[in-house]
């Protein structure tokens, strides 16, 4: 199949999924959720006030129009205004995505490269004590609650030893580095466990294949086999794992940002949750879903570049 036809077909499949996501969000936020007017006006509001507010928020329109609004916002990113700050939500998102990315992007790059290197290294020594103890350390690191990393990290490294800024943020290139260094470090510590374990499994799945035995029997060195042959064949699961994390980078680190006072998207979402700001939570849900869908298409297209056999299916 021609690659363009494949991409087109894959894009067409996005439509039902996107409509489904909007339906799910509509059901959750507009059908099942408790009446937001009670939350906004308090218990002592009279019926007239409530009706006025319902009209103002557009909740008195037919369900179908409300659903269409959500679908429209998934394409135009026009999410309306926040209930608590009255700001345009899209402006909030624009302002927040920069600081979020300054934390998540370097952290993601560092942790991905580091985990790949470690897992290739332990795959080389598979079955030996180095491999076994690395796996054990990874599992132990995964078992520590993420909040413990954040709280103890902030307390010990920033508060007690003063190695990093405790919290806050400064815009502009070199200025933000002292503020994002510790959140980055914690992100790396959080993701290295699952990453190494995953990459190691993927690489070991390949190591026992026939082509590896062939390569070895024709006298190739273990290094060439791992880097040239095994890594190439393990690319599909690795790409999936890497690309599918990207939407979460945009979403920001929900907990990290609030702890370190970084004005990113994670912090915005957390504030919206605490102040029952429906439109903002809904906008973040839509945004992250759209990002996820886009990146899953990109993953599928990357598959065909890495492994041409995929196109035939």
């Amino acid at each position: 199949m021609n690659i363009y036809v494949y991409i087109m077909r894959r894009l067409l499949y996005v439509i039902p999924v996107l409509l489904g996501v909007c339906l799910l969000i509509f059901v959750l936020f507009n059908l099942v959720s408790p009446d937001p007017t009670i939350m906004l006006l308090g218990k002592h509001a009279n019926a007239k006030q409530m009706a006025e507010l319902r009209h103002e928020l557009g909740l008195d329109r037919s369900y179908f129009t409300q659903y269409l609004d959500i679908v429209k916002s998934a394409f135009t990113f026009d999410f309306g205004r926040s209930w608590s700050t009255k700001q345009e939500i899209i402006e909030m998102i624009k302002n927040g995505s920069g600081p979020s990315l300054t934390v998540t992007f370097p952290a993601f790059i560092i942790s991905t490269i580091l985990s790949l290197v470690i897992s290739l290294f332990v795959a080389f020594y598979r079955g030996k004590w180095l491999d076994k103890s690395t796996v054990l350390v990874c599992v132990a690191m995964m078992s520590v609650p993420s909040l413990a990393y954040i709280l103890f990290g902030q307390k010990i490294l920033a508060y007690d030893f003063g190695l990093f800024e405790i919290s806050g943020y400064d815009h502009g290139f070199p200025n933000f580095i002292p503020y994002v260094a510790l959140p980055c470090l914690i992100w790396v510590a959080l993701s290295i466990g699952p990453d190494v374990r995953f990459y190691r499994t993927v690489i070991l799945d390949e190591v026992y294949m026939d082509y590896v035995r062939t390569a070895r029997s024709k006298g190739l060195s273990e290094k060439v086999i791992l880097f040239k042959h095994v890594l190439k064949n393990a690319m599909i699961p690795i790409i999936t794992w890497v690309v599918i994390q990207i939407p979460f980078l945009i979403l920001g680190a929900l907990l990290l940002e609030s702890f370190f006072g970084i004005p990113g998207l994670g912090g915005i979402t957390l504030n919206a949750i605490n102040s029952a700001d429906f439109p903002v939570v809904r906008a973040m849900t839509i945004l992250s879903a759209v990002a996820y869908i886009i990146f899953s298409v990109i993953t599928d297209v990357l598959y065909t570049l890495v492994d041409p056999r995929v196109r035939l299916r």
């Binding site: 039902p16 999924v17 489904g20 996501v21 339906l23 799910l24 969000i25 959750l28 936020f29 099942v32 959720s33 408790p34 599992v139 132990a140 995964m142 078992s143 520590v144 609650p145 993420s146 909040l147 413990a148 709280l151 103890f152 902030q154 307390k155 508060y159 070991l204 026992y208 939407p247 979460f248 979403l251 929900l254 907990l255 702890f259 979402t269 957390l270 949750i273 605490n274 029952a276 939570v281 809904r282 973040m284 849900t285 992250s288 879903a289 996820y292 869908i293 899953s296």
Partner: protein
């Protein structure tokens, strides 16, 4: 040889060959050989026992009683110190086990029921049903887990029941996917055809014959789901969307964020350690179960 039955000329003889071991026997034996798996099972059993004892009121029933001054550090009297109201952190930690185990168990059950049912139906019947279910789980999985979780608890309101529902309703997708693929692999096998040939209907073929053969996937997933649920409960409680009015590890960690600056580390340490140990046990047990039950991995 023992003669069992004689019919005319032919005699039917009971085979003397020892019965071959089933997957489950193999799995059980390999688990029992695995030292780490045994330790993990013991740890999990202890946690379950603590949860049962606190539920029945034999242990930590007086967790809300004042036992010392506010924020007393760990001492011989109060091993893990006290919290802001002078309550024993040890008792709160034990009482919190109840929430963790119940969240883990109930959530994992919900996700197994939904995942197995949808996955089995989708894989077995195929066609339009399959397309619908695949569309449904693609849709659900398109919303990042944490956002969906937050959205559902946000809407259902605070409390333990919403935590069960939110975690259960969001965590079935991966199991559903695997079960669907496994059922598709099994449905045209000879043993299923044989079951059909002697008059078994779809329901019987699917639930009596195919499901037992893919059960190992469910068990591995259950142990994975259990620990994910425990971890997620903590995050939900931290976000203020979780358990209210009773101790849980999540609320303990939530309290700790304000205490830590004053040097009160014991509540956070106690809750983190309690969680660390059981999540670690489930992680190790999950790996051992996979090695023991997944025939594809045999010999690696």
């Amino acid at each position: 040889m023992e003669q069992v039955q004689t019919m005319g000329q032919a005699t039917i003889v009971k085979s003397e060959k020892p019965k071959s071991k089933s997957l489950w026997q193999h799995a059980f034996e390999s688990l029992m050989r695995d030292r780490y798996a045994k330790i993990s099972i013991v740890i999990i059993a202890v946690y379950v026992a603590i949860a049962l004892l606190t539920t029945l009121g034999f242990l930590a029933a007086d967790w809300s009683r004042e036992v010392g001054s506010s924020y007393a550090p760990p001492s011989l009297e109060n091993w893990l110190g006290t919290d802001i109201f002078g309550r024993s952190v040890m008792a709160k930690m034990l009482k919190g086990t109840e929430v963790a185990i119940s969240v883990g168990f109930i959530t994992a059950m919900i996700s197994v029921v939904i995942g197995v049912f949808l996955g089995a139906v989708s894989g077995y019947f195929g066609g339009k049903v399959d397309e619908m279910i695949v569309w449904f789980y693609t849709t659900v999985s398109s919303i990042p887990y944490i956002m969906l979780l937050v959205a559902i608890t946000f809407i259902l309101g605070k409390g333990l029941v919403s935590v069960y529902l939110a975690l259960g309703l969001t965590s079935w997708v991966s199991l559903c996917r695997v079960i669907r693929a496994e059922v598709m692999r099994h449905k045209d096998r000879e043993y299923v055809q044989a079951a059909g040939a002697i008059g078994g209907g779809d329901g019987r073929k699917l639930f009596k014959h195919i499901i037992p053969n893919v059960l190992h996937v469910v068990i591995i997933n259950f142990s994975l789901q259990f620990q994910t649920a425990i971890k997620s409960e903590v995050i939900l409680s931290y976000l203020g969307l979780g358990v209210q009015g009773r101790p849980s590890w999540g609320t303990m960690i939530d309290d700790a964020k304000l205490e830590l600056a004053r040097g009160v580390w014991w509540q956070l340490a106690a809750a983190s350690f309690a969680m660390f140990l059981i999540v670690l046990a489930f992680n190790i047990l999950g790996d051992s179960l996979r090695d023991a039950l997944d025939p594809k991995l045999k010999g690696k």
